[in-house]
């Protein structure tokens, strides 16, 4: 694993980055809109060299005596999944679930590309390409992020259906394919080095849906990041927002050469690529829920509510959700599946049950966090208020006591506010409702992976004392996922 400094240096690669509302960013490592997140990724890399983190982030010694990162592990057993999962849980919690994309996630994308290419069955040459790319990622820790490949809205509203795809092929050469286009939402492109663009981009080569990996620094690539989540510049008031805004974005391609070794034939659906990502998403949502529970417990202590029955009932509400997700992850890893090529994969049915449960619970989780502190959450002071001579005595009287100073209690309340009532919180919700397809996709995946339709339907018929038709419900899981919604172009341009 490279060092954080080496990663930081890699980002000074001439990439063209814009942040909405901020203009062009010459150097993401120093610009105020991006540098804090760069330092979080620097810390992510350096943690792998920190002895305190070794047992969490590094696998046991291999035959050569080397301890390699769980982040870049190819799982071949349930024990591998458990080790990888533990490393995700610990690192994701560290950002309260706000940093969803990191090189570990990129490695899972690369494994998913390999899975998708094998499932598509375009031939050994294509499998070898995907395997080589995956091995490069696993060997270097290069930071890959993911776009399904869908087009931005303007493309989808074009009158001519043939022009609604995200990218179009300009020409082919011996070295690769030259593409032009605009690719829709994905995450952390200005901090990553490569973007996987899925087959929803509409590219077809030799009759196959094609996906590809593009380098952020490549000539002709422009990265447009969304506006920064508004935040108070004072870290006391925004301890999370000032550090963990990973910035989603879109990608513009202007005659960009994609070498053939980075072009992958896959099914158009992104689902095979997401084979391992669903598991990581659940870890991420679980870490956010655990962080919320952690703050709720801390606030319960700080507000001296440990013996308040109503508060404890709220805590149990949170625990029930957190424990359901923990159970889902435990079952997914300890009751795994194996791919045809020998990789161990988390059992999707278990993971999907956990994700569906959490999707339903997340609004209530946030509301409970807003309820427990009482209205002190709304009126808590900043550190600068507490230092103001004309306010300090009064604020100390108002917020201190019970083993906490006013600044300690206020710091905790501001952390809670930043976690569940900030622009960063709003972004997290808006993002997660789309990033992995939202609740409809998780339910659709559960419909497809649930295994006992006919067994259950025919088993209940045994209670009946008459001959019954044999039931076949195989069409229900076989139905495709709901199609992506279609934006209807208007009959004429509005003026």
């Amino acid at each position: 694993m490279r060092t954080g400094a080496e990663y930081r240096e890699e980002l000074r690669d001439g990439r063209v980055v814009y942040v909405m509302g901020e203009g062009r960013v010459d150097d993401v490592t120093t610009h105020p809109a991006t540098r804090a997140m760069v330092e979080e990724y620097v810390a992510w890399h350096d943690r792998h060299h920190d002895p305190d983190w070794a047992d969490i982030l590094l696998a046991p010694s291999d035959a050569s005596g080397e301890r390699r990162p769980w982040a870049l592990r190819v799982p071949r057993s349930g024990a591998d999944l458990i080790g990888m999962g533990r490393s995700y849980a610990k690192t994701l919690f560290y950002s309260a679930g706000n940093i969803t994309h990191d090189p570990a996630y990129g490695h899972l994308i690369a494994m998913g590309i390999l899975n998708a290419v094998i499932e598509h069955g375009a031939g050994a040459e294509h499998v070898a390409r995907a395997r080589a790319y995956h091995e490069m990622i696993a060997g270097t820790g290069r930071f890959l992020t993911f776009s399904a490949g869908s087009a931005p809205l303007g493309f989808r509203l074009r009158p001519d259906p043939a022009t609604r795809a995200a990218v179009k092929r300009v020409r082919e050469t011996d070295e690769g394919v030259v593409l032009t286009g605009r690719v829709g939402m994905h995450t952390s492109p200005c901090y990553a080095e490569d973007v996987y663009v899925g087959a929803l981009c509409g590219l077809q080569i030799d009759g196959h849906p094609a996906s590809f990996v593009v380098e952020i620094r490549a000539k002709g690539v422009t990265t447009l990041c969304r506006k920064v989540a508004p935040r108070d510049p004072n870290p006391f008031l925004a301890p999370l927002s000032n550090r963990f805004d990973e910035l989603d974005g879109t990608l513009w391609l202007d005659e960009v050469l994609i070498p053939w070794e980075h072009v992958f034939f896959v099914d158009q659906s992104p689902e095979p690529v997401a084979r391992y990502l669903t598991w990581h998403h659940l870890y991420n949502w679980g870490s956010r829920a655990e962080f919320t529970l952690g703050i709720a417990l801390a606030v319960t202590d700080a507000m001296r509510l440990k013996d308040n029955d109503a508060t404890v009932e709220y805590l149990i509400d949170l625990m029930a959700t957190v424990q359901t997700v923990r159970a889902a992850l435990t079952a997914a890893e300890r009751d795994p599946e194996f791919t045809s090529y020998g990789y161990c994969a988390p059992n999707l049915c278990h993971a999907l049950a956990g994700g569906t449960a959490l999707f339903k619970a997340r609004q209530q989780i946030a509301e409970i966090m807003r309820i427990i502190p009482g209205s002190s959450l709304v009126v808590a002071p900043s550190d600068s208020d507490l230092a103001a001579p004309d306010l300090s005595v009064g604020l100390e009287e108002a917020f201190a006591g019970g083993g906490y100073t006013a600044i300690q209690r206020a710091a905790l309340l501001q952390l809670a506010w930043d976690h569940v009532a900030s622009g960063l919180d709003g972004r997290e919700s808006a993002f997660e409702l789309h990033a992995s397809g939202g609740m409809p996709s998780w339910r659709g995946r559960l419909r497809q992976t649930f295994g006992d339709y006919n067994d259950l339907a025919n088993a209940v018929l045994q209670q009946l004392d008459c001959d019954m038709p044999q039931i076949d419900l195989g069409s229900i899981p076989a139905r495709p996922m709901a199609p992506r919604r279609v934006n209807a172009p208007s009959s004429g341009d509005k003026k």
Binding site: Q323, T324, A328, T330, H350, I407, Q408, C466, P469
Partner: protein, 490 residues
């Protein structure tokens, strides 16, 4: 494992059984209120000799999974598989079986070990457990709580379920009335828990009383009201396990059936909650199976809203399956090495299902449409002046009217019958209800302090060290107290 016929014969032991509204029963194996359930238990035993069930019900050594004392994950998985396959057969209505009785005694055994009031208690508990394993004897469970009238006694000393009348060298003589428990008319023994308040040498005590012992009277609740025609009540006519109470009138309990036990809420139910969750899962899976079958029978497999309803139930079923899988594969171990499904995972599954069960039933009532309400019986279908019209109304699409009606009546019996009402009422009390499961989660959840202190690392101000572990170690909520009126009402 004894045969079903052996079990049936064992029930003719002179037991005194009264059915509310039905009077005393001379022979539970032949009385109309109880004969059908006896035959279900007969089938339970005989299934162990059926080659088609061997791989499900017997371990590789040929021992019934029902009577294995689990020490490994594989053994827990084997027992779990046996539970889920058999409990589904009754749509989750038969919650108490000899397997469940063995799990009760496993809990008693470990509760004697953790109480540690003397080696003879654990030795006696293990001897009784072995007796169950060797004979297949059917044990059921009573917490030991007093009935409402006893709890309203003016003298607090009289507010207990059971009193010790006297002791001898061989045992104790007890007298009293014990509150709700399940299947006493079909079981051979009842474990009576320490909620009786009985003490042995200063320790909370439980005891086992044979249902057929002199002085024991079993009072079963009224049967769930049902149609006599099995076509209309295919479940109700077979799976009413009958809850009840027992009265003890100077009943002798030998010392080897008296156990000093740990009164902690986790002690005796250590394995039982796992079984409870399997029971609830079976009901939910049966509901899902019925909904699948009705989606087919009503021609709704391609109907998007129907499929969404199906996914709603799938999500609930899969969540419980997932929690059970986690509990079995990430277990805990007792000090003496027994393997116990992880309670934190189980509690999450139980709470999830408690919240979902009403909705699951409603979806099954929704999916068939109003045909569910007006479906005919088999007798209506053969009435000459109705037959053709009913065939036109209910036949078609690959189903005869009789087939479709049979399925609709099965659905009705599952989620709109008195048996369904009994199941709901029973489960809201039997294992403590949702408050009980939430409390068990509170006690089994880990990481209170780790989570609370971990979030403080986001704050640059030095913070106090937080200790909220007390939330997880709180004692179980006291049973609700009844208030006595100021004076006896006339």
């Amino acid at each position: 494992m004894r045969t079903g016929a052996d079990y049936r014969a064992a029930l003719r032991d002179g037991r005194k059984v009264v059915i509310m509204g039905g009077g005393e029963i001379d022979d539970v194996t032949t009385h109309p209120a109880t004969a059908a359930m006896v035959e279900q238990y007969v089938a339970w035993y005989d299934r162990h000799s059926d080659p088609a069930w061997t791989d499900t019900l017997l371990n590789p050594d040929g021992t019934p999974w029902a009577f294995v004392a689990p020490r490994t994950v594989d053994e827990v998985l084997g027992i779990g598989r046996a539970i889920t396959k058999t409990i589904f057969l009754s749509a989750g209505n038969i919650t108490h079986t000899p397997l469940y009785g063995h799990l009760i005694q496993m809990g008693v055994l470990v509760a004697t070990e953790t109480r540690n009031a003397g080696p003879h208690h654990a030795a006696n508990a293990e001897a009784y457990r072995k007796r169950i394993a060797e004979t297949g004897r059917f044990l059921t469970f009573c917490g030991g709580a007093a009935i409402i009238g006893q709890r309203l006694q003016p003298n607090p000393a009289d507010r207990v379920a059971v009193k010790k009348v006297h002791e001898t060298d061989k045992g104790m003589i007890v007298r009293g009335r014990l509150g709700m428990h399940t299947s006493p008319a079909f079981a051979e023994d009842v474990y009576v828990g320490s909620l009786t308040g009985l003490q042995i040498d200063g320790h909370p005590a439980g005891f086992i009383v044979p249902v057929g012992a002199p002085g024991v009277t079993t009072l079963c609740r009224k049967p769930a009201t049902r149609e006599q025609n099995p076509f209309l009540a295919p479940l109700s006519s077979r799976y009413d396990e009958l809850d009840g109470q027992i009265w003890l009138d100077d009943v002798f309990i030998p010392w080897e059936l008296v156990f000093a036990v740990d009164p902690a809420p986790e002690a005796i139910p250590r394995w039982l909650r796992w079984h409870h969750l399997y029971g609830w899962l079976a009901k939910a899976e049966f509901t899902l199976g019925l909904t699948f079958a009705l989606a087919d029978a009503m021609g709704l497999k391609e109907h998007d809203p129907t499929v969404e309803y199906l996914v709603d139930i799938i999500a609930e079923v899969q969540t419980v399956r997932t929690c059970i899988a986690a509990a079995e594969r990430d277990p805990e171990f007792t000090a003496s090495g027994y393997c116990v499904p992880n309670h934190a995972h189980l509690a999450a599954g139980g709470i999830s299902l408690f919240k979902a069960r009403q909705r699951i039933s409603e979806i099954l009532r929704i999916v068939p449409g109003s045909s569910l309400v007006v479906a005919p019986s088999d007798r209506d279908l053969i009435i000459p002046e109705l037959a053709q019209g009913l065939e036109e109304s209910f036949g078609g699409g690959g189903y005869t009217a009789r087939q479709r009606s049979a399925l609709l009546q099965l659905a009705w019996d599952h989620v709109s019958s008195a048996l369904d009402g009994r199941e709901s009422t029973f489960e809201l009390h039997a294992s403590g209800g949702l408050p009980g499961w939430r409390h068990w989660l509170r006690r089994s959840f880990r990481d209170y302090n780790q989570l609370a202190n971990a979030v403080l690392e986001m704050i640059s101000v030095p913070m106090p060290k937080i200790d909220v572990a007390g939330i997880g170690t709180a004692s179980v909520a006291a049973r609700r107290a009844v208030s006595l009126p100021p004076a006896e009402k006339k």
